[in-house]
């Protein structure tokens, strides 16, 4: 088995996904991921030069759009119903340091 993914990669991916892995889990996950990537090896035997990447399994689907019409929204009560904490109609969350994306 070739090492496509290192233990450091797995720890980084787990961090991105906010998944806590024990040291043993990192080892087994690394082995699993490498085995999965190995199973895709036959693809490399085909000549794919000039073949456009397939992003969607649904063949010719394109331009799916809806009209700009208002549909019902949740009430505030429903929207907040799964929130562990709420205040003044808003989700109340622990403060997160740093900033969001670049919008």
């Amino acid at each position: 088995m070739t090492e496509h993914v290192s233990q450091a990669d797995v720890r980084a991916i787990a961090e991105y996904a906010r998944i806590g892995l024990t040291a043993e889990e990192v080892v087994s996950m690394t082995a699993d991921l490498n085995a999965i990537i190995d199973s895709l090896a036959p693809i490399t035997e085909y000549d794919l030069e000039g073949v456009p990447p397939t992003f969607h399994p649904i063949g010719d689907l394109s331009n799916v759009m809806r009209e700009d019409k208002v549909r019902g929204s949740f009430t505030q009560e429903v929207a907040l119903s799964n929130a562990p904490k709420q205040e003044d109609g808003s989700f109340l969350i622990p403060s997160i340091l740093g900033e969001g994306g670049d919008r």
């Binding site: 505030q76 109340l92 919008r103």
Partner: protein, 526 residues
């Protein structure tokens, strides 16, 4: 710290902008049918899609795609028929699904440009503009009579969605520092947002400000956004770096945020250019970092240092089908393009003989341009109706604009000044019934008393006397009463003309037409 002018002697500033606009004129969000409404009670416009609940499937808003294509056509972009949405992954509570849906390497609109006319004081920031002759070009600019025209490239305009709003509590004034908890409102999450990215073609803070103003005019003209910098529906980030004059290599850039007015955009960039120059001249290093413009302290502050590139793990959004826009779709959008500000200004110059300056200032705001069009339509049937163009332009650019600046909460259409009153006012002056000074008084009275100009002139007894017979009698009287001065005048003391005009005016209580008085006096004294 050196002044901007001094800094730009040694350094060339390289500026690029990223401009986000919410498509506020639409009814619904980007990927769901939740209503777009600014200022609604928190979390009253949400659904499984914009709350990122498991299994929810997004469906793009057709009107949003039409809006971005319209924006691209209005800014000379190529419309890419084949493009798709991507996921930009990041964990932050303002986006419940933990990714922002945006576009990848290919956006709906690519490779556009806008031409900026920079003149007056704004042109002074450009380094050694005087070394160019009108018509001569250098880099991306061409020297014009009273400034220059700059060609500014637009890299792309892509479609994405806005995030929710967070309020941090426990710290001071909603700031994150010291905050223990945050309140999140997802009403704004999923609002259609278009981001325009310019090429690093801007060289002065004034150019950046003018670009932003011009883009705002265009977006307002095509009606895709209310473009309120105050409410955040139009937002601008600036990328700035410096390089020594003559160098072709780019320096390290910083990204500047929080420039939520045209003044802040200019002042923030100007400060950042000067700050970078000082660091570099003292042998320091510019770090690639995000800085925040603090208008009250008049300085930029570090928000975060980018140690590594953000890892957004961009990949094609599997829940959204790709786009394959048809010619028919694009042409249907093109048919919706209204007359754009530049085209309008060109028409004003060509049809009414207005100067480029007047024409441009009339189209600065859609309301003033519409008002001017309405006035000109009223006189269009008259044989020499276009003679009113210049006085109407003066009225709008000077009196009306300063009135609107003094009353920022009032829209032109809500003032007592109707098109027919404006035409009536300039007609009174062009007929010689009132002087230019009286015209200003009548304008003020229209705004204050909500009456027609003719009635105001009548009531205030302002009507200027232009009747040559009536004026001649006064002129004769004045000359007869001052035989010595008449003799002195005839001996060459021509400066006495002012005295005679003044005496006639006094006798007519200021209502004599000065031109008629002057003509008659010259005639009689020769």
């Amino acid at each position: 710290m050196k002044s901007l002018e001094e800094v730009l002697e040694t350094w060339e500033a390289v500026i690029g902008l990223e401009i986000h606009s919410e498509l506020t004129t639409l009814n619904t969000k980007m990927f769901c049918g939740c209503k777009l409404e600014f200022g609604a009670a928190p979390n009253t416009h949400t659904c499984p899609v914009c709350l990122g609940l498991p299994g929810a499937l997004p469906v793009p808003n057709k009107a949003a795609i039409e809006s971005i294509v319209l924006a691209g056509l209005a800014t000379n972009c190529d419309i890419e028929k084949h493009s798709m949405f991507y996921r930009k992954n990041y964990m932050y509570p303002d986006m419940a699904k933990n990714f922002q849906t945006t576009q990848g390497p290919i956006a709906f609109c690519m490779r556009g440009h806008l031409d900026l006319d920079v003149d007056g004081p704004a042109a002074k920031e450009r380094y050694r503009l005087d070394s160019l002759e009108p018509g001569e070009s250098s880099g991306n600019i061409v020297r014009t009579e009273d400034g220059y025209r700059a060609h500014v490239g637009i890299t792309r305009i892509h479609m994405e969605e806005d995030a929710g709003k967070m309020v941090h509590i426990g710290g001071g004034e909603g700031r994150i520092a010291g905050a223990k908890e945050s309140l999140v409102d997802y009403n704004r999450a999923g609002t259609p947002l278009i981001e325009l990215v310019t090429e690093p073609d801007l060289r002065t803070p004034e150019e950046a400000r003018l670009f932003m103003q011009k883009l705002r005019q265009i977006y307002l003209a095509i009606g895709i956004s209310d473009c309120s910098m105050e409410e955040g529906s139009l937002r601008c980030d600036g990328n700035v770096s410096l390089r020594r004059r003559g160098s072709a290599q780019f320096g390290t850039k910083t990204e500047l945020k929080n420039m939520n007015s045209f003044k802040n955009l200019h002042d923030g960039l100007a400060y950042e250019i000067c700050r970078q120059a000082q660091v570099l001249e003292e042998g320091g290093v510019i770090y690639q970092e995000t800085r925040h413009w603090d208008p009250s302290a008049k300085r930029t502050i570090v928000m975060r240092v980018k140690e590594t590139a953000d890892d957004y793990r961009l990949f094609p959004e599997p829940d959204l089908a790709p786009y394959d826009l048809s010619d028919e779709f694009i042409e249907r959008v093109r048919a919706k393009l209204p007359e754009l500000p530049d085209q309008k200004a060109a028409r004003y110059s060509a049809s009414f003989g207005l100067s480029a300056y007047d024409a441009r200032h009339l189209v600065d705001h859609r309301a003033t341009a519409d008002f001017f069009d309405e006035c000109m339509a009223l006189v269009a049937a008259e044989k020499d109706g276009s003679k009113f163009a210049k006085p109407l332009a003066n009225l709008i650019i000077n009196d009306v604009t300063s009135y609107l600046n003094a009353h920022p909460e009032v829209a032109l259409t809500d003032t007592p000044l109707t098109a027919s009153r404006a035409v009536g006012l300039v007609r009174l002056q062009s007929d010689g019934a009132i002087s230019s000074k009286q015209s200003k008084q009548v304008f003020a009275a229209i705004m204050e008393e909500d009456k027609d100009p003719d009635i105001i002139v009548e009531e205030k007894g302002m009507k200027q006397v232009s009747d040559a017979g009536a004026i001649e009698a006064v002129v004769d009287e004045v000359l007869a009463a001052n035989p010595e001065k008449v003799a002195q005048f005839r001996d060459g003391k021509t400066g006495l003309m002012g005295f005679f005009v003044g005496q006639c005016m006094k006798a007519m209580r200021g209502q004599g037409n000065p031109k008629v008085i002057n003509d008659l006096l010259s005639q009689k004294l020769s």
